[in-house]
Amino acid sequence: MSIPTKRALLKLAALSSLAAAAILAGCGKKEEPAPAPAPAAAAPAPAAPEPLKAAWVYVGPVGDAGWTFAHDLGRKAVEAEFGDKVKTSFVEKVPEGADAERVIRDLATQGNKIIFATSFGYMEPMLKVAAEFPDVKFEHATGYKTAPNMRIYDAKFYEDTYVAGIIAGKMSKTGTLGFVGSFPIPEVLRNINAFTLGAQSVNPKIKTKVVWVSTWFDPPKESEAAQSLINAGADVLLQNTDSTAVLQTAEKNGKYAFGWDSDMSGFATKAHLASAIADWGGYYKKAVKDVMDGTWKTERTVWGVKEGQNDLIKIADVVPEDIRKKVEEVKAGMKAGTFEVFTGPVVTNDGKEVLAKGAAADQAWKDKVDFYVKGVEGKIPSGK
């Protein structure tokens, strides 16, 4: 390793500063549009030929065939629906830390009128940027903080997992289900609980084992986790991670599993029981339309099976008729709004009753899920 002399480095520094100064001088004139109420960026008249610019911020790659892929399909649905009237763009693999704020702010300065952030970790950064751009609409997925120009949306994945549970409860011969979990956040805990409750509605003695892989995406690790669940006696698996690895491991071992986030029926002909999907297109179209019509307001939208945002599809032929009927019934109830997954009595796995008999959980209850229901083995990692 050569170590240049002081003189040489001073020369380099001088050259670089000259270069930097030149660049700055050249660009200095081109000031960014002022972030504070920018008169130039006043409400674009919907009738104007200017297309509405909409942007998406993704936490993963669009090629992940999972969470981000599903959101991108939603974005494409917006393009298909509105054609020339919108111009969409996206930034993928944006880390959920300090960088996110910069990306979101940049998108806002670029003239996007509505920005979607598709992961919880973007909440604080988005909130900060929303304060600076009052006439841009900000949409945050899976969060809980809002602002006059920032609202939240979410999906009811637990409805999918409940229905999956019904199927699993019947198809499991050992009475033990397995769940490969990413991180113990409320959404995942809801999914585990709903899965177990659904299975117990068919077989009250069902047990669920959970293994946490501490990642949303690491196929070999997901494989290993699935294998260890199978080794421990689970014969129907569900996951909250984004690849087909769990499904494929189940196939290899002659067990059952479900697809997650996308239709994975093509990946495992014998193991695949059904795929839990989310279709974000419906919500994205609505949101964009709200901006176009000027009817956008701060609210929290949680859609599920009823609105067509969640579904459990491609149910395998091996599933017997009586279970299919039950699934249809439950789905019909969800669509009609009469079936609530979390209906009492619900007891945690250390004996506490958290929902009285007959009571239907409200949104606040569901947001605060920090327990396992009876039948799920173990303790939530570092849970209190």
Partner: protein, 374 residues
């Protein structure tokens, strides 16, 4: 065919010119790459090299992102010059964030108030101690058990990540946070004081610049720095001169751990103002690259930190402005690094056209001098 011919003396002109040549070559290759992908090359290059500096806000973001890189790299430079291969700066960074964040949370619990930045020095100090403590584990195992610092420091990175996860999912989770993995937001008094209004740039950047100067003094004007470097370049000579290898090891690791910890605490108390599992985006590893691109020299590191920060931000911008896939940034950075490293060869070697076969080249002067000192 092209032949490498050793120079009698390392070329000073090339020392300065080689990074510029590398940059020029990268620009050329990148332009070709953009064209091949059907994008306007000039626009593409503009996004990577000009756009990140477009305006005061943009420059502030570049400097903000460069700050942790520079701090970590300074510490690593001391390590590498002492021939201690600390690959675990990322882990030390995380521990600094944890310690600093912990201090901030504790201070908030005590009910401190005051203007922004009043208690920031305490937070940063905690970060330094945290990073040092983590590096001390590596030093201890190398000192007492001869365990390779490469392996121990690297393994400790993963342990640190899990520790952070454990804390934000468990004991330090914000009770009002709906069970999401994040701590409470820190009290204003524990935030880093802002440097530039309407930007996220904080005084940590100034601290980083101060560190650049301090490290230059340490490495090139202090007795201790001299000892460390001799120990790295010629261990036998160092032993003969009575320099303690053990104390060099500890100094190097504690310094780099402390710097990485400082950077971590800065990131937590600066732009983030809370702890989440995503405090670091690989700063500890990118810093290794910054360190080498900056040729292990404080001033070079400062410039390299800014350059790499620009590239990273440029990559983000290229996605939203040009629709270029994120993967391309990695390709780009790798290419730049390759070219930078290759062009550095020009400092010690001359490129000549020669007829004939694979004759071996002469020993370059720099090596002769080095081996003479050994």
């Amino acid at each position: 065919m092209l032949k490498l011919e050793a120079r009698a003396q390392p070329s000073q002109a090339m020392s300065v010119a080689s990074p510029l040549i590398a940059l020029a070559l990268t620009v050329l290759l990148a332009g070709l790459l953009f064209a091949a992908l059907g994008k306007d090359p000039l626009k593409g290059l503009g996004i990577f090299f000009v756009e990140p500096l477009n305006g005061v806000r943009a420059v502030s973001e570049v400097l903000l992102k460069a700050t942790p890189l520079i701090l970590c790299a300074l510490g690593l430079a001391v390590c590498y010059r002492s021939n201690v291969w600390n690959i675990g700066a990322e882990g030390q960074f995380l521990l600094g964030a944890i310690a600093g964040g912990g201090a901030a949370l504790w201070l908030g619990h005590q009910g401190v108030g005051g203007p922004q930045g009043l208690y920031a020095p305490l937070v940063l100090l905690a970060g330094v101690v945290g990073g040092m403590a983590w590096a001390a584990i590596t030093a201890l195992l190398r000192d007492r058990c001869n365990a390779s610092e490469i392996l121990v420091s690297l393994m400790l990175v993963y342990v640190a990540q899990q520790l952070l996860n454990y804390l934000v999912f468990g004991p330090w989770k914000d009770p009002g946070g709906f069970n999401f993995p994040q701590t409470r937001t820190f009290e204003v008094a524990t935030w880093l004081p802002a440097l530039l209004p309407r930007s996220r740039l904080h005084w940590g950047f100034v601290l980083a610049l101060v560190m650049v100067v301090l490290f230059w003094v340490f490495l090139f004007r202090s007795w201790r720095g001299y000892q460390l470097q001799v120990g790295g370049l010629a261990p036998a000579a160092a032993r003969y001169a009575g320099f303690s290898a053990r104390s060099s090891l500890w100094t190097a690791l504690l310094v780099s751990g402390g710097m990485a910890g400082l950077a971590g605490a800065m990131e937590a108390a600066g732009p983030l103002r809370q702890l989440t599992p995503h405090v670091s985006t690989g700063y500890g590893f990118t810093a290794i690259i910054v360190c080498f691109v900056g040729r292990l020299h404080p001033l070079g590191i400062a410039l390299a930190g800014v350059l790499l920060s620009m590239l990273l931000i440029g990559g983000e911008l290229a996605q939203s402005r040009l629709g270029l896939p994120n993967a391309l940034t990695g390709v780009f950075q790798g290419l730049l690094l390759f070219l930078l490293l290759a062009c550095d060869t020009l400092i010690n070697y001359r490129v000549r056209w020669k007829r004939g076969g694979l004759a071996s080249t002469a020993l370059p002067a720099a090596v002769v001098a080095k081996e003479g000192a050994a």
